[in-house]
């Protein structure tokens, strides 16, 4: 119950953060990635700000035995730097650079459907990509 309420609140805060940061605007993301053009370095501050807050908190929480509202922490145990990580990250980077939307801002973009109806096309294609991958043998 509380777990679900806090999921909604966490998502909401995340979405507000992305909006204030400027990440929800694909043109701004492209301007950040366009280092050989007229460069807008703002998004370094987004990732930097998030890590500067998160890393010390994770460090302080490392000995905590369980979260507030569920039975255990779920942290990925894969450590391999393998073909899948490299291939997947490359494909993701190409897609991100093409449009300027990564998964978080893509979900936020549903809020802007009145401004740009095509945002839903990206979300549907992305979800199609998730399903398609289940049938891939990589």
């Amino acid at each position: 119950m509380y777990n679900n309420i806090f999921s909604l609140i966490s998502g909401l805060i995340f979405g507000i953060g992305l909006t204030i940061a400027g990440m929800t605007n694909p043109a701004k993301v492209i301007a950040f990635l366009n280092i050989t053009g007229i460069w807008d370095p703002s998004l370094i501050f987004v990732m930097g700000g998030a890590i500067v807050f998160t890393a010390p908190c994770f460090y302080l929480l490392k000995d905590k035995r369980k979260p507030f509202f569920t039975s255990s922490f779920q942290i990925p145990d894969i450590k391999d730097i393998d073909r899948k990580l490299i291939l997947g990250s490359s494909l993701f980077g190409i897609g991100w650079g093409m449009i300027g939307l990564c998964p978080g801002p893509a979900i936020c973009s549903i809020a802007f459907i009145a401004l740009q109806p095509l945002s839903i096309v990206f979300v549907v294609a992305m979800i199609g990509g998730f399903y398609f991958t289940k049938f891939l043998k990589i």
């Binding site: 995340f14 703002s42 807050f53 802007f112 096309v121 979800i127 990509g129």
Partner: protein
């Protein structure tokens, strides 16, 4: 030679936005015990029953975020996406397939993973950043963005 776009450079709001994203990641972690990697949350919502309701609520929150911000601040939020329809479809597919195979995106690898000093996530972030920069360069170069 790097030319900075001073007119659109927003270091303060981007830093504040980044810190707020950090608050969301830590809040989600300490309450649910899970990492707020958005691609993982979407893919788990689609493929698993475990935590389904919690994941859906997180994604609803994500959509409400910009709307709540606009409602309370009365500010205009720019959403400028000029890409052509075929490019949007291909880009969306690549982002979905890529983050699913690599098991993480800008949030999962870039924020949560780097904050845990995961070497896997550091490698992933360097690769997707580099590929995105090269893609933007090639699209600008060919004039087809």
């Amino acid at each position: 030679m790097i030319a900075i776009d001073v007119d659109h450079f927003t270091p303060y709001s981007s830093l504040i936005g980044g810190l707020i994203i950090g608050v969301a990641v830590v809040l989600f972690f300490i309450t649910s015990g899970r990492l707020a990697g958005i691609s993982g949350i979407i893919s788990n919502t689609l493929e698993r029953n475990e935590n389904k309701f919690s994941n859906v609520l997180f994604l609803i929150g994500l959509v409400l975020g910009p709307l709540v911000y606009i409602f309370f601040t009365k500010k205009d939020v720019v959403f400028n996406m000029t890409s052509s329809l075929p490019l949007i479809i291909i880009g969306g597919l690549f982002v979905g397939i890529g983050t699913e195979i690599a098991r993480g995106c800008t949030s999962g690898h870039g924020i949560c993973g780097i904050s845990r000093f995961s070497s896997r996530s550091i490698v992933a972030t360097i690769i997707f950043m580099s590929c995105a920069i090269i893609t933007v360069f090639l699209l600008q170069f060919s004039g087809s963005s």
